[in-house]
């Protein structure tokens, strides 16, 4: 039991971050019908900006967080404005390929800034750890998990109680109908990208703390996509639940099966899960099934 908890609890903490990335992807998909690979980069740059503020510029913690959020706001807006707006009305698959092109373009910049090194701020923020039933838990991880839940709560409140949130929900239903009720769909698209970039950068700050800023960080975006698919591409609660499940499963796979097959299962577990989900339940746990007509 102790071993199980030792694997499951850190898994849960990481899983929270996965669900946050997935939430960013779900937000974009719900409103714009674009499935985004680019969020891995938005996440990585969130972590990078935070690191620049904290370590390079020696800013205090709240200001570096603010710096990261503001820069990712600008990035989210630029990505939508420059690359995705010209594609409105084009086939959705070309928008998907566009997000992949954005991923590549930003990946080069990311690697150029890193220069093959790995940046860390873990030592600056170690707040110690405590034990629950014999499982050590780092305080920072707990804080990041709380932040994840807070972001989900804020998103839920935003969509439930604000007028813009209502407009976004309407846009998710039907673009033309919402346009004809006076919602500016383009503004909504911009806003959605900005919000999802902010959510992704929050996830990035948390993820970069756990696994440092180095070259595989953007590929967390692919994991976020897996989580989003698993939970259902248009369901925020699905993203939360699926992220937690994937986080735990990954660690359990790695902990129990790695000695048997010789390592590396942690990264493959997610993809095996994805294949099973796609074959058994292609629309995910809570996703809407779409019916097609010729």
């Amino acid at each position: 039991m102790k071993e199980f908890l030792q694997l499951a609890i850190p898994g849960l903490m990481i899983g929270g971050l996965y669900s946050l990335v997935a939430a960013a992807i779900v937000l974009v998909y719900k409103s714009t019908r674009v499935v985004s690979l680019a969020h891995g980069q938005l996440l990585a740059f969130g972590g990078l900006f935070f690191w620049i503020g904290l370590v390079v510029l020696h800013l205090p913690l709240p200001i570096s967080i603010l710096l990261a959020l503001v820069s990712s706001t600008i990035m989210g807006w630029l990505v939508e404005r420059i690359t995705l707006r010209p594609l409105i009305g084009q086939p959705l698959i070309s928008a998907f390929l566009m997000t992949f092109a954005i991923f590549m373009a930003l990946d080069g910049v990311f690697q150029l800034i890193l220069k093959g090194e790995s940046k860390t701020y873990a030592t600056l923020l170690s707040l110690g750890e405590f034990e629950v039933v014999g499982v050590p838990i780092r305080v920072v991880q707990l804080i990041s998990f709380a932040v994840v839940l807070l972001v989900f709560l804020l998103l839920a409140l935003f969509f439930r109680f604000t007028k813009t949130g209502l407009g976004m929900r309407a846009t998710a239903e039907d673009h033309q109908l919402s346009q004809s009720t006076g919602i500016n769909v383009r503004t909504i698209f911009s806003l959605i990208w900005i919000i999802s970039a902010i959510v992704a950068s929050v996830a990035g700050m948390g993820t970069a703390y756990v696994m440092d800023i180095h070259f595989p960080l953007p590929y967390i975006g692919i994991k976020g996509l897996i989580v989003a698919l698993f939970g259902g591409l248009d369901s925020l609660p699905g993203a939360l639940l699926a992220g937690l499940i994937l986080g735990i499963l990954e660690n359990l796979f790695a902990g129990y099966l790695d000695p048997l097959v010789g390592g590396g299962l942690k990264d493959v577990a997610a993809y095996v899960l994805l294949l099973i989900v796609l074959l058994v339940k292609p629309y995910g746990l809570f996703g809407l099934k779409r019916i097609e007509r010729v």
């Binding site: 499935v35 390929l97 590549m104 373009a105 930003l106 080069g108 910049v109 990311f110 796609l278």
Partner: protein, 348 residues
């Protein structure tokens, strides 16, 4: 490339790829130039042409499954790895001749590719693309964990041999690679004009409508995956015996993404597009490799070795530009040029 005033009077003329005498002349001239190239080309250019040819074979496969059949596949690098490893094992451990191992590795990659195509029964579009990414990672995880593949050290396949003649240098294996590339291109060019190729196009344009027309969706989708992975396997085998090292790190997701990019730049649904895409992006890559040290000496803050990351960035930016301004790729420009050449002295 037909000049003004060539009319088709018989079906055989309509079907001919080489329609007029000038085509034959150009083809024979180009072939002679291609085969005599190692006699005067430098080492750098010969290996460049080798890698171009291998890229063309892979992207031809991708063109068939994605450009013609409309099923986007991110698994091409993994299937190339399957071909490379199969060939390396067959020649190195079993002792088969390279010329037997080449088709076998294509078929093995194709059969494993059927597994990759299996999800296409239930899912399509972006979902299928994600499934192929998953397959890429599963295959690339399996390879270094099996005993037969030499674990993480990789394998060292021997150079191909006929009798006592060994194709052990870039110039010698050039002939094998170019010949195989020409055969594969010829095969693809003709395949897409047959019943099968037309069925692929119907599936791409609207799969439900295609099914109503009597095309067995699943069979043709699987066939497309088989052919595409066959091409990847052949390319992998050639690659293995050219470089003579097979290692899991040679086949990353980044490579697969690169092939997709070549397809986008070249243009989907066109065989000449493959050539344009591969050559354009490879030359761009070479250009960046050449320019990067120069830039690094002018702006020292970008680091000593910016080439790899810069080429990734340039690749992404080129893709963005193409997706916005020329979504049908360079092949579309080529079609426009051909049409205007055909009208040449007249305006329309």
């Amino acid at each position: 490339m037909r000049p003004c005033g060539t009319f088709d009077e018989r079906y055989s003329q309509d079907m001919a790829i080489l329609r007029i005498k000038r085509h034959w002349g150009l083809l024979i001239g180009a072939l002679i130039l291609l085969y005599l190239f190692p006699l005067f080309g430098s080492y750098y250019f010969i290996s460049l042409v080798n890698s171009l040819c291998i890229g063309i074979i892979i992207v031809l496969g991708l063109q068939i499954v994605s450009g013609y059949c409309g099923q986007i596949s991110f698994g091409q690098a993994a299937f190339m790895a399957v071909g490379a490893y199969t060939s390396a094992i067959l020649t190195g451990k079993v002792g088969l001749s390279f010329f037997l191992a080449l088709p076998i590795s294509g078929i093995v990659a194709g059969l494993i590719g059927l597994g990759g195509g299996a999800p296409s029964l239930r899912i399509k579009g972006f979902y299928l693309a994600m499934a192929t990414i998953a397959i890429h990672f599963v295959v690339m995880w399996l390879i270094p964990h099996l005993d037969i593949t030499g674990k993480t050290q990789g394998l060292h396949p021997p150079a191909p041999q006929i009798g006592s003649f060994t194709f052990d240098s870039d110039e010698k294996i050039y002939y094998i690679i170019v010949t195989v590339m020409l055969l594969m291109t010829y095969g693809a060019r003709n395949m897409v004009r047959t019943r099968v190729g037309r069925a692929f196009v119907a599936i791409r344009d609207n799969d439900l409508a295609a099914e109503v027309m009597g095309i067995e969706l699943y069979r043709y989708k699987l066939l497309a995956f088989f052919i595409s992975c066959f091409y990847a396997g052949i390319a992998g085998s050639l690659w293995a015996h050219w470089i003579q090292v097979v290692h899991p790190e040679q086949f990353t997701l980044l490579h697969a993404l690169n092939y997709i990019g070549m397809l986008i730049v070249g243009g989907g649904g066109s065989i000449p597009g493959v050539f344009f895409g591969v050559i354009f992006l490879r030359l761009l890559d070479e250009g960046v490799m050449f320019a990067a040290p120069l830039l690094a000496s002018i702006f020292p803050w970008i680091g000593i070795h910016p080439a790899a990351s810069m080429s990734v960035s340039v690749f992404g930016i080129v893709l963005i530009i193409f997706l916005i301004y020329e979504p049908r790729g360079l092949a579309h420009r080529w079609e426009i040029f051909k049409t205007s050449y055909r009208l040449y002295p007249f305006s329309h």
